[in-house]
C-alpha cells in the first residue's frame, strides 16, 4: 500500500476501484453518450482514449492527469453527479483544470445528497503507480491510499 498526499478541491471520504487514464480525460466525449442513452455502467465513450474506451466509470475512482476538451465538460460532470452517474471520486495527478474544477464545484454547491471527493496535485508518481482495479481509499484530508 502506498499513500499520496493531494489537495482537496471538494471534500469527502470514499473507497473505490481505480480506473486509470494517463492521457487527458475528455469529459464530454467520455460521458455524454452514456448519460444520454441511459448506460447504467456509464461506459467511457471517448474513442480517442484507448485506456478508458468502453470501461465503466460509475462508482469508480477515476485517476487522471487532467480533463480536456469541450467547455461543456464541467456541466456534463455536474449532470452526471445530479443524476448519480458519477465516478466515486476524481484523483488528479496534476493541478486541476478549469473545467473539472467547475464541475466539481457545481456538484458540491448545487447538488444535494451526492458526494464526489475531488483531489488534485497527487503528482506524476501517483499516476505511474496506480493501475486499473487497485483499491483506492480517499480520506477527508486529501490523503489517497492505493493498494
Amino acid at each position: 500500500m502506498k499513500k499520496f498526499q493531494g489537495r482537496v478541491i471538494t471534500p469527502g471520504a470514499v473507497t473505490a476501484e481505480a480506473v486509470v487514464t494517463t492521457q487527458g480525460f475528455n469529459t464530454l466525449a467520455s460521458l455524454q453518450m452514456a448519460l444520454q442513452f441511459g448506460d447504467k455502467q456509464v461506459k467511457c465513450g471517448d474513442q480517442n482514449n484507448p485506456e478508458l474506451h468502453g470501461k465503466p466509470l460509475i462508482g469508480k475512482a477515476l485517476c487522471l492527469p487532467q480533463t480536456i476538451g469541450s467547455t461543456t465538460g464541467g456541466l456534463v460532470l455536474y449532470c452526471a453527479c445530479a443524476m448519480q452517474k458519477n465516478p466515486a471520486c476524481m484523483l488528479f495527478a496534476n493541478h486541476i483544470d478549469s473545467l473539472a474544477a467547475a464541475g466539481a464545484v457545481l456538484a458540491d454547491v448545487w447538488v444535494d445528497g451526492v458526494t464526489m471527493p475531488v483531489i488534485d496535485s497527487l503528482g506524476d508518481e501517483f499516476l505511474a503507480y496506480v493501475k486499473d482495479g487497485m483499491k483506492i481509499t480517499v480520506k477527508e484530508d486529501g490523503v489517497v491510499e492505493v493498494e
Partner: protein
C-alpha cells in the same frame, strides 16, 4: 480570496440564498486556482456554451429555473452556441424521431429560459459570436465570462480579450454577479507561453491539422508560434482570421488550449514579441512529416472503414462569410472540372444565422444552391451526438467534430475532392 464588502455581502446571503450560492460557486472555483480576488467583467456581452435542450441535461435546466425563480438574471445580454436542430439538414425518419421526440425535447423550454435570462436576440445562436454579422465582439483587454472553447481561444488570441476556459454554467454565473475569479489567462503571467512552436512546413499547413498537432502536444499550455506568418501573412485580414478561428478550435478541442500567440500577427505577440515566452519554454517542431503522422494516427471508428460517406459537414466552428464564398467558388470549379453539376455527397455548410442572412443576399447563395449544397445554422456536433449517427459514415474538415463524434476528418482539399468526385 479577498472579497470586497459588496461581494462578501452577496456571499453572506444579504441578497438572497440563490445569489449567495452563485457567489459561493465562483469563490470555490477561484480558490481551486489560488485566485486572490474577483475582478469585474468588462465586455458588453456574454456568450454561453449551452444551447441545446437535451433531455439528459435536465439538471442544467433545473438550475436555470432556480435562478429565474429567484429573480436573478444575467447582468449582460448574451449570445449562445448554435441550435442543435435544423430541418434543412438531411435526417431520416428514425433520426428525426429520435431528435425531436427523445433527445431535444427540452429545446423550446430551454430557449424560453435563455430569453428570460438575457439572450441578445432570437438569432444569437452561433459558436462564432465574434463575427461582425453576429455582433458580439469584445475589445482588446476586455474581461469575459465566456465558456465556448473555440470562442474563448479566439477572443484571447485574435482579439486580445481576457478569458479563462470556463465551463458552461460558470459562464452565466459570472455575468449574474458581474465578476470572475482572477487567475490563469486573466493575468499577465498566465498569458506567457510555455511552448515554442516552430512551423517548418513546405506549404501552408492545414489550419485544423496544425491546431490538432499543437493541441495534443501542449494540452492546456500557451504556445508561441513561429513560422506561420510566412504562410498566412502578417495582417489580421478576413482570411487570416478565418484560418486562426479554425486553427484555434482544433487546439482547444484536441487539447485544451485557451490562448496562443502567433509571432508577428496576433495582437499581444505584435506588441510584446518574445517577452511573452516564459523561461524554460519547451520546443516542438512541426514539419510536413509531423502533420502526416498526426493525421494518419486518427482512429477510424466506422464499422466499415471503406463505406461511402453519406453526409459531409463543413463549418465547425461556423464558417465566416468569406469562407462561404470561397467554398462556393471552389465547389463550382471542381464540379465544372469533373463535368458534374451537383455534389456527390450530401453536404452541409454551417454558419451563424446572421452570416447566412448576409450570404443569402449575395449572388453566391444561388450559385451554391445550384451545386446541391445545403446551408444551415445547426451545430454539427449536436446533430451527430447520438448512436444513430455513430453508425453513419460522415466526413468533415473539422477536427473538433472528429474529436467528439464518429465523423472522419479530411483536409479541405480532400473534402472538396470527395464531395465533387464522390467515393471515399
Amino acid at each position: 480570496m479577498i472579497l470586497t464588502s459588496e461581494q462578501q455581502a452577496i456571499l453572506n446571503g444579504e441578497k438572497g440564498e440563490t445569489l449567495a450560492k452563485v457567489m459561493k460557486t465562483l469563490v470555490m472555483y477561484g480558490d481551486a486556482f489560488e485566485a486572490e480576488k474577483l475582478v469585474p467583467i468588462t465586455s458588453k456581452y456574454n456568450h454561453l456554451v449551452t444551447s441545446f435542450g437535451l433531455k439528459v441535461m435536465s439538471p442544467v435546466y433545473d438550475l436555470m429555473q432556480t435562478l429565474l425563480d429567484a429573480g436573478v438574471a444575467s447582468g449582460q445580454k448574451f449570445s449562445v452556441d448554435p441550435r442543435p436542430l435544423d430541418k434543412n439538414v438531411p435526417a431520416n425518419f428514425l433520426q428525426n424521431f429520435v431528435f425531436n421526440k427523445f433527445m431535444y425535447t427540452k429545446q423550446s423550454f430551454y430557449e424560453d429560459q435563455l430569453e428570460k435570462l438575457g439572450l441578445m436576440d432570437k438569432n444569437a445562436f452561433s459558436c462564432t459570436c465574434y463575427m461582425d454579422e453576429v455582433g458580439n465582439q469584445p475589445k482588446k483587454g476586455d474581461v469575459l465570462s465566456w465558456a465556448e472553447s473555440s470562442a474563448v481561444v479566439y477572443a484571447n488570441s485574435v482579439l486580445g480579450a481576457r478569458c479563462n476556459r470556463n465551463s458552461g454554467i460558470i459562464d452565466i454565473m459570472g455575468s449574474i454577479v458581474g465578476y470572475v475569479p482572477y487567475f490563469g489567462l486573466l493575468t499577465d503571467e498566465g498569458r506567457k507561453a510555455t511552448w515554442i512552436i516552430r512551423v517548418k512546413t513546405t506549404k501552408k499547413p492545414e489550419a485544423q491539422l496544425l491546431g490538432s498537432a499543437i493541441g495534443m502536444k501542449v494540452m492546456e499550455d500557451v504556445p508561441y508560434i513561429y513560422g506561420l506568418t510566412e504562410h498566412i501573412g502578417n495582417e489580421l485580414n478576413d482570411a487570416a482570421k478565418a484560418y486562426l478561428k479554425d486553427f484555434g478550435a482544433a487546439t482547444a478541442s484536441n487539447g485544451a488550449v485557451g490562448l496562443y500567440h502567433i509571432d508577428g500577427l496576433t495582437p499581444e505577440a505584435v506588441e510584446l514579441g518574445e517577452a511573452l515566452i516564459a523561461e524554460g519554454a519547451k520546443e516542438y517542431i512541426i514539419d510536413d512529416a509531423e502533420l502526416e503522422r498526426v493525421q494518419a494516427n486518427y482512429p477510424v471508428i466506422w464499422k466499415n472503414p471503406d463505406a461511402k460517406p453519406k453526409l459531409c459537414f463543413i463549418g465547425c466552428p461556423h464558417l465566416s462569410l468569406e469562407q462561404l464564398k470561397t467554398w462556393t467558388d471552389n465547389i463550382e470549379a471542381a464540379l465544372k472540372e469533373n463535368g458534374t453539376a451537383k455534389v456527390q455527397i450530401p453536404t452541409v455548410l454551417t454558419a451563424a444565422p446572421g452570416v447566412l442572412e448576409v450570404f443569402n443576399k449575395t449572388e453566391y447563395a444561388e450559385r451554391l444552391k445550384a451545386t446541391g449544397v445545403i446551408t444551415s445554422y445547426i451545430c454539427p456536433l449536436m446533430y451527430m451526438n447520438n448512436p444513430l449517427c455513430k453508425k453513419m459514415p460522415v466526413i468533415t474538415s473539422s477536427n473538433k467534430l472528429r474529436t467528439y463524434t464518429s465523423a472522419r476528418y479530411y483536409t479541405d482539399a480532400q473534402i472538396l475532392e470527395a464531395i465533387t468526385k464522390g467515393g471515399k
